[in-house]
């Protein structure tokens, strides 16, 4: 068991190192440095800037300096917003993004799983079809479409202020747009996995020995059918907490998603690396946690490893 966790952790760290290296060299391969502007800077200024940021050193030394700084948690200064370091920008952005993400995650778990269970228990009924039609639409309509349509609607009704996160009602739009896809996916996944489990022999055994229907469902069926759902939810949490570029842009929220898209258009490379790393770390940690949680829920996994 411990060996399994250690192995997984080491692999995650290795992955992270590779990601950092990859991102570092990828960005160095871009033609023109961060100080290449449309109007060229004077030679002397550019040299002094490069010296200040350590860009005149050989590539390998730059790499090790960057990695050294990284281990102390320093992501370097932002190239285009010289007054801020990347750490400061991240620190202001993360809470905004996390708030929306967290609410969306809760919303999905509280709504998605029960919807899936209900439509599995009442399969082929009107409720089932209704839930599945909505779920299919949720999966196929991109979040920016949901978000934009929501804003249009909000303006028609004009009692929902658009943009920013001020009153509780302003959270509705971003959360719906962000959660839409995953909510639909979770309820579909729960449904199909629940249907699968309900056909198993041990469910028949449980019914045969006279357990009440609620016990059969909650104790035997639900627990087992949640395994694939948990596998999906782990990375999903990471994706929701971080991957809200579009939603943040539409609803004008100053989260890291917005910084990320802005830093891309502004070619602010340190900020790009910083945000990417944050995303990657968060994602990898979530996947690792799911792996570990998985081995607790499903004993078959740790037996084979």
């Amino acid at each position: 068991m411990n060996r399994y966790i250690i192995k997984k952790t080491l692999f995650s760290i290795l992955t992270l190192l590779i990601v950092v290296t990859l991102v570092f060299f990828m960005l160095r391969a871009i033609p023109g440095g961060p100080f290449t502007r449309e109007k060229p800077l004077p030679e002397a200024t550019r040299e002094r800037l490069e010296e200040a940021y350590g860009l005149n050193e050989p590539l390998l030394i730059q790499y090790f300096t960057y990695m050294g700084n990284l281990f102390t948690g320093d992501l370097g200064p932002s190239f285009r917003k010289p007054a801020y370091t990347v750490n400061e920008l991240l620190a202001t952005g993360i809470p905004q993004t996390a708030k929306i993400g967290l609410i969306a995650v809760i919303f999905i778990i509280v709504l998605g799983i029960p919807l899936g269970v209900i439509s599995a228990l009442k399969s082929n009924s009107a409720i089932d079809y209704g839930v599945m039609i909505i779920a299919t639409i949720g999966i196929t309509v991109p979040s920016f479409v949901i978000g934009s349509l929501f804003i249009l609607l909000a303006q028609k009704v004009s009692w929902i202020p658009v943009g920013g996160l001020t009153t509780p009602i302003t959270y509705v739009g971003p959360v719906v747009a962000l959660a839409g896809y995953s909510l639909a996916f979770v309820s579909r996944l729960t449904r199909s996995s629940m249907l699968e489990v309900l056909r198993q022999d041990y469910i028949r055994t449980a019914r045969a020995k006279g357990l009440s229907e609620s016990k059969v469902i909650f104790k035997h069926a639900l627990k087992n059918s949640l395994i694939p759902v948990i596998t999906y939810i782990g990375p999903m949490i990471a994706a929701l907490m971080t991957g809200s570029f579009v939603v943040e842009r539409i609803f004008v929220i100053n989260g890291i998603g917005k910084y990320f898209t802005e830093s891309i258009t502004a070619r602010d490379y340190t900020l790009v690396i910083g945000v990417t790393l944050f995303y990657a770390v968060f994602y990898i940690i979530m996947v690792l946690l799911v792996d570990i949680a998985y081995s607790f829920i499903d004993p078959r996994i740790r037996m084979t490893k």
């Binding site: 960005l27 196929t140 309509v141 920016f144 479409v145 934009s148 539409i250 990417t276 994602y283």
Partner: protein, 417 residues
């Protein structure tokens, strides 16, 4: 029993008794199963409609995706027209361009508004219409004080039109735009033409990415699965590492690196034409082959233990032949399903990239970049956002239905719930 009671049957009668059914090939069987699935057929028909829309559509539509009609900027699909005379109907755009229209909504000519005709103090603009010989035909004075004057504001209109000393406040009719069916964008380009073009670009990206992905994934996965041992371990570790990073991040990062790079300008743009089409395709391929490779490997791993592979090996068939003739055809079902599902994913990712400003650059367009352009003017011109958005959603639905149906038809074992 008396032997004579038995008669020989005639040849034809004999045949009748036997259960004869034409044997179906695998693909006939797939088609039979697919036909039974109504949603899949709806999806298939929709996909065909989308493809026709993007290919034949531009031939029928008289406007080109990049022609600009500067007199008719931001004209919506539905026009509020005013009737000023028996044969004088006008439409006022949100940009306050006054346009002469026919009664059923075809655009005829834009009124001129000279600098000296803008009375900024009294907020009355005088629009003039000229014929070919530059003779003045009609003069319309537009009173904008309904937006500023405290008493006039109560009427809830934005302006009134005065023609031959009669003031018109009421909208005569709401008619559909007959010239530009879906309206025009901020540069006066026909939305329908742009939509057709954008759909085409999105489809090209998706299909190219899916096909190339297929080849890379099959090559990588079958090599890894077939040779096993260390080759497999190393190849699958690489896949694991790629897989443990959110794919979207990768895509974005790659787009940033490739955008305006030497590679894009000298290689990709030469192949696919300017505007970053090639960059998106390359980016999508370099990320999404992973899933395909994994799937093929799993398939090959399962199949290579089968007896017929052993038999082929004993007969001395070369490895290449075994992969080509035995493993790939048998693994084809799930592979095709994955490929079909790859198409909506690619459309989605492309739309997303274009939406955050990393995709196709103007004057070329994709569905995502159209939605992105529309999003900036969402408040004033909602149709510019809604039309491409609905098209994306429709396309996603169609491909998903078809993909789900194909999955059930190609490989009934994978059928869910």
């Amino acid at each position: 029993m008396d032997k004579n009671k038995f008669n020989f049957l005639k040849q034809e009668q004999k045949l009748d008794k036997e259960q004869t059914r034409k044997s179906l090939t695998y693909w006939q069987d797939v088609w039979r199963r697919l036909k039974k699935n109504h949603l899949a057929i709806v999806g298939l028909v929709s996909v065909i409609i989308i493809i026709l829309f993007a290919t034949i559509g531009p031939l029928i539509n008289p406007y080109k995706y990049n022609s600009q009609y500067l007199d008719y900027k931001n004209i919506p699909p539905q026009l509020n027209i005013y009737k000023l005379d028996d044969d004088l109907y006008v439409f006022m755009s949100e940009m306050y361009h006054l346009i002469l229209v026919t009664e059923d909504g075809a655009l005829v000519q834009r009124f001129d508004l000279a600098e000296e005709d803008r009375d900024l103090v009294n907020r009355i603009y005088t629009y003039r219409l000229y014929d070919d010989q530059n003779n003045e035909i009609a003069v319309v004075a537009v009173d904008f004080t309904y937006q500023t004057d405290p008493i006039k504001r109560l009427e809830g209109i934005k302006f009134s039109l005065t023609y031959e000393d009669v003031e018109y406040k009421e909208i005569h009719d709401r008619v559909w735009n007959k010239t530009f069916i879906l309206g025009t964008d901020k540069n006066g380009r026909d939305m329908l033409a742009r939509l057709m073009y954008g759909t085409g670009v999105s489809l090209i990206i998706a299909f190219t990415a899916a096909v190339i992905n297929f080849f890379i994934g099959v090559l990588y996965g079958s090599i890894s699965g077939f040779f096993g041992k260390n080759v497999d371990i190393i190849m699958m570790r690489i896949v694991d590492i790629i897989n443990s990073i959110p794919l979207l991040l990768y895509v974005i990062l790659l787009m940033v690196v490739l955008k305006d790079s030497w590679f894009e300008i000298n290689v990709l743009d030469k192949i696919f034409g300017a505007g970053g089409l090639g960059t998106i395709i390359v980016t999508l391929i370099s990320v999404y082959w992973v899933g395909m490779a994994r799937l093929v490997r799993a398939q090959v791993l399962g199949l290579k233990e089968q007896e017929y592979v052993l038999a082929a090996k004993t007969m001395g068939v070369s490895n290449n032949k075994i992969i080509q003739k035995h493993l790939i055809p048998n693994a084809l079902g799930p592979i095709i399903v994955t490929m079909a599902m790859m198409i909506p994913t690619a459309v989605f990712t492309e739309a997303f990239l274009s939406f955050i400003g990393l995709g196709i650059s103007a004057p070329r367009a994709s569905l995502g970049s159209l939605a992105n352009d529309g999003a900036s003017f969402m408040q004033t011109y909602p149709y510019q956002l809604v039309i491409p958005s609905l098209t994306i959603a429709f396309m996603m639905l169609a491909f998903n239905f078809l993909g789900d149906g194909l999955r059930d038809a190609l490989d009934p074992r994978l059928r869910k719930g």
